[in-house]
């Protein structure tokens, strides 16, 4: 009975905490100034938020098989969301989304005179320094 209560409370707390982090990422989408910082905010929701919800579900419905499923789900979620964030940031830069002016330093802008021309002509690499090397 008491063990049941502990499981219910801790599992629900994890679910609520995960939902809270996802909600804060949603606020970040409105508050933050540019594409790149907003993508970072999404990283908290897609990473810690989803991971906490998965852990909460595993705690509420515990079995060894569910633990394995949970670990696989978290690992797959982290890997895919990180590659997705990278693709989003890269395509955002290619289509001309500039970082906010408070981005100091911006060594990518410094290294690319006309970023769009440089980046599109080469599938293998991204950046202008490669042309001279």
């Amino acid at each position: 009975m008491t063990a049941d209560l502990v499981v219910t409370i801790s599992g629900s707390a994890l679910l609520i905490l995960g939902a809270f982090i996802i909600a804060s990422a949603a606020i970040g989408l409105i508050k933050l100034p540019d594409l790149y910082t907003r993508t970072s905010a999404i990283g908290t929701a897609a990473g810690l938020g989803v991971a906490l919800i998965i852990v909460g579900v595993v705690v509420l419905d515990f079995s060894p098989l569910n633990v394995v499923k949970g670990v696989i789900a978290i690992a797959a979620q982290l890997l895919t969301s990180s590659i997705g964030s990278f693709a989003l940031a890269r395509s955002g830069y290619l289509t001309g989304s500039r970082p906010v002016a408070t981005t100091i330093p911006d060594e990518l802008a410094a290294s690319t005179a006309s970023p769009r021309d440089r980046l599109i002509d080469d599938d293998e690499s991204f950046g202008d320094d490669s042309a001279t090397s």
């Binding site: 982090i21 804060s24 990422a25 606020i27 970040g28 508050k31 933050l32 100034p33 540019d34 790149y36 910082t37 993508t39 970072s40 905010a41 990283g43 908290t44 990473g47 810690l48 982290l78 890997l79 969301s81 990180s82 590659i83 964030s85 990278f86 940031a89 890269r90 830069y93 970082p99 906010v100 408070t102 981005t103 100091i104 330093p105 911006d106 060594e107 990518l108 802008a109 290294s111 980046l119 293998e124 690499s125 991204f126 950046g127 320094d129 490669s130 090397s133």
Partner: protein, 126 residues
Amino acid sequence: MTTSPWSLPVRALALLGWFTKQFIVTSVQVSALILTPGRQPQPGIVRVDLDEMSDAELTLLIAIITITPDTLVIAVDRRARAMFVHGMFVAGDPEAFRSSLLDTQARLVRGVRWRAPASHAREDTP
């Protein structure tokens, strides 16, 4: 620091533990930044020159850097072996940010290779 292939599981676990801690800490930092009224991020983009590494290691490095919410890889130049990383808390100190990324790279290489970099010197001598 032992670098025999047998220590790989230990080194991989050390990487996993460090990464988990880093992931949680930076997630909380970014959430705190968002939820603090009136506080804005102090972002920056730095160029990081990469060591020699395989495509799989490079992919893993990009994944690890991008998962931690305060850092984000924007571009990779494979021929010049450099990447451009966006950080949320650079605050005008690019050198500290760059060295933290190089530290991540060193930890990754130590955690996934059969022989960690420290063994290079020994490999050179027959």
